[in-house]
Subunit: 352 residues, 2 copies
Amino acid sequence: VTDELTLRRPDDLHLHLRDGDLLRAVVRHSSGPFARGLVMPNTVPPVLTATDAEAYRKEIRDAVPAGHRFEPLMTIKVVPSTTAETVRQARAAGVVAAKLYPEGVTTNSADGVRDVMALALAFAAMAEVGMVLCVHGESPEAFCLDREARFVDHTLPRLVDEVPDLRIVLEHVSSATAVDWVRSAPTGLDGRHRVAATVTVHHLLLTLDDVVGGMLAPHHFCKPLAKRPEDRDAVLAAALSGDPRFFLGTDSAPHRRRDKESAEGCAGVFTAPVALPVLAEVFEDHGALPRLDAFTGSHGAAFYGLAPNEGTVRLVKEPWVVPADHGGVVPFRAGTTLRWQFVDGGDQGPTG
Amino acid sequence: VTDELTLRRPDDLHLHLRDGDLLRAVVRHSSGPFARGLVMPNTVPPVLTATDAEAYRKEIRDAVPAGHRFEPLMTIKVVPSTTAETVRQARAAGVVAAKLYPEGVTTNSADGVRDVMALALAFAAMAEVGMVLCVHGESPEAFCLDREARFVDHTLPRLVDEVPDLRIVLEHVSSATAVDWVRSAPTGLDGRHRVAATVTVHHLLLTLDDVVGGMLAPHHFCKPLAKRPEDRDAVLAAALSGDPRFFLGTDSAPHRRRDKESAEGCAGVFTAPVALPVLAEVFEDHGALPRLDAFTGSHGAAFYGLAPNEGTVRLVKEPWVVPADHGGVVPFRAGTTLRWQFVDGGDQGPTG
């Protein structure tokens, strides 16, 4: 029986840290277990430029508790005014990805993009400088459960075909259609994968039944929506498979309780505090524990062309009850017992 | 241009009035516009017997404001212990219908029925004494969007086939599958329809997009869930068609705001305060205003074998803003402007 688990220090390749008080309240839940996090740019105001990204990186670094070694990987938000020059300057400032939100599709996306291909020159610049395009892949005009499939069928093929070397991450994949598409997407001329997908913790577990099938569960409400059991099973199979195109991006998205339990509830699940323990449960339950390390620690880094992290983190099999909230933010699995526990005492690798 | 509308005093053939303070807060929104309401028995504790129904009828009558003439049509809840004798006694006390909830399917249904056909003798007694069986037609073991179709495919045909003269109302019909089934259900030996369906106000308008497609909207959360656009369109077409098997049952379901905007939100839409104005809009928008009177005032009474109401109610085309709440309960379309307004001044018919 496995009762201890040592993993390469993991990357969270899709993460919302917010700013100000909320950033300071939540960042330790990511900076403790994770070595790096790809930080989403949909703050208010958004992160649009190299200058914005540098300021936001400093704010995050300042908020990380002493003793945590955490590197925020910065992104900019693609908006209609994003140019090739915006991209080049951001890349020069160390920004690793740009995030595309179709207009109106999720939290703070009113300034998103309506006509994706109007940004073709910016995308070409991304391909040229080696910046990844992260996509919230939903077409907002479709019925809620069909939005991801519509985007995959109508928009993603054009991006792949018309911007030859662009590398794309389909974020928080949630449907069988999207999983299949990622698996069948073309590789680049160099033979490397051009398309990958992040997988969240909650999309491995939830279906729409967990959102609206019993009492209404605002803390399970997210975009893209959790879907049918067969969709959840496809996402789960992809994560467990060891296919390097599928890797962890939690999309951990803190909202204050009052903004979730509301007449107009915000979308997002705050998974950072439980991400590794829940993943250990899921992978163990499916006999795939040996594949967890690559899912959290190397597939994503490889796709992004980042060196793998040095050092390790440690989990032990010791039941604990997830707190009801963290500073007014309700975490995933609040109040339930998890059997794996993240503990300090891993090797954070060489300082410096 | 029609700017005034006179309708036969309408019946609401599916209504939650609750009890105690909540009953006193909400009953006037039904007892004003409606002549009769079929009152659901899923109070806490539930209405199970003739005695319970008599006590609940008195509580409702006592809560109706002076000057309103409103007749509560009573129901009992079918539970595993319901017998043929329960049914006969209830009928003798004037109870017109029994309500079947599959176990766990909606608000206060933990004591519902798991094996529907185990109640066959009670159903046979209902057929014998002329009591209608009202069905919450969802199979809780199915995926949330498939529950109604599953019930229609698997359970309803057995009820119809095995209890020959039982008359059934499929409540709050919400899917194209169910609409089609009602249309194709067999008639009785006397040639009368044996199966009908109530249609709510909100299922004429909402799809799942209105619940989870934008911000989470707990005040649009109900069971059965609002479904795909094609399901909503099928329900709408049935209501507008003039087919006497489809008639109004609002399922108006008041919950206090704090119980809706919650980590575990209650299902139900409080439509009573806006039911007639919204229906007038919908029927007018689809060129079916002449059919509204039968939908609200005669199809249901005919199916239940009740005399049509005497007297009229009046609506005028005069925009008004729906209040944000009524005593802590948020009504459907709160804060929006409706173009038809219910006004006093109809003829309530002979007193007595």
